[in-house]
Symmetry: C2
Subunit: 193 residues, 2 copies
């Protein structure tokens, strides 16, 4: 199997030698998921770390009214993990589901732990991944707190236009924190401009 997408992801994040990347990704195995399939279900414990090689995923929760609230949209290539569940081995609150057909690489916590403690470069990589993800989330909180829905929509459209070609609008709406009716109206308004 061709691990180049996975391997290149490491190289793209920070300078690291090819041999080390190969050693890190050695234990990763390939699998596929059809669209609309659950990768990791609510109330289960994540036993694997997942690298999304191709496709679109999302995570969502069910609120008090049992409505789906999309918490994140993942576009390959990227890691898709419930950090809390995976590293603390506790049940997830979120459901991770494929939106399109997807391909993945996965490895176990045991392998991650072994790499984390034995390969200094992997430690740095892991921490960098956390830092980057933390700041993406931070930016989203800031946006949520200070921008109106229309601005958030326009930002997303500008930053990730491909999402609008691959993800249903109602999922995007819920990710933006608005209803699908509102998103529809905002789209109608902004087309005029």
């Amino acid at each position: 199997m061709d691990k180049s997408t996975l391997n290149n992801y490491f190289h793209s994040l920070f300078p690291i030698e090819e041999d080390i990347v190969n050693k890190i990704t050695e234990t990763f195995t390939y699998f596929e998921l059809n669209k609309h399939t659950i990768l990791l279900d609510k109330d289960t414990i994540s036993t694997k770390t997942f690298f999304l090689e191709k496709g679109y995923m999302r995570s969502y929760i069910l609120n008090e009214e049992n409505e789906e609230v999309t918490t994140n949209i993942y576009a390959a290539p990227c890691f898709v993990n419930d950090f809390l569940s995976f590293f603390k081995q506790q049940p997830t609150k979120e459901i991770y589901q494929s939106i399109t057909d997807c391909t993945f690489w996965e490895t176990s916590l045991k392998n991650v732990q072994s790499n984390f403690h034995n390969i200094p470069e992997f430690r740095e990589f892991s921490r960098l991944l956390f830092v980057i993800n933390y700041y993406k989330l931070n930016d989203r909180v800031i946006e949520m707190a200070s921008q109106k829905a229309e601005t958030r929509y326009l930002n997303l459209l500008k930053q990730k236009p491909h999402i609008f070609q691959n993800v249903p609008l109602k999922i995007i709406a819920s990710y933006l924190g608005i209803t699908d009716s509102s998103l529809s109206r905002i789209r109608k308004e902004t087309v005029k401009i």
Copy 2:
């Protein structure tokens, strides 16, 4: 100086031996900050990691209209860090400012790196700290996306009532993503209940 608050913070997060904690916190030094003082300014690079021993801090950004948007409120004891700036050594976008008089323990990136690569327990601790912070932020995004202002206010009041005794309402309002007028009205409404 008495490092017990700092040391206890390590013990409270996960099982770790006293000797190891002492080794980790060995290089931390003490300092104080008066209220309304900047700890880390916008566009500067964070050279230290900070543990807030006593007091209240916040981080905020200036939006396009030069209005302050509070991104986080910190209540001791906790670490206060701009992860992106500290670990990637790049300028912060946020301003970190004391709200009350504060006391801190700080150490340099060099010491953190040394501990990270030499003390397995510290690696685990660091990762756990990231995971916890990431999920606090994640919960906040979910709340922002799916709950109305009144609910967010009531949740905060329930979870961190002490903040309302120590932090001005306009800072809390901006943290909740609403105006101070709206927060004032919400408070008026909810008192009735």
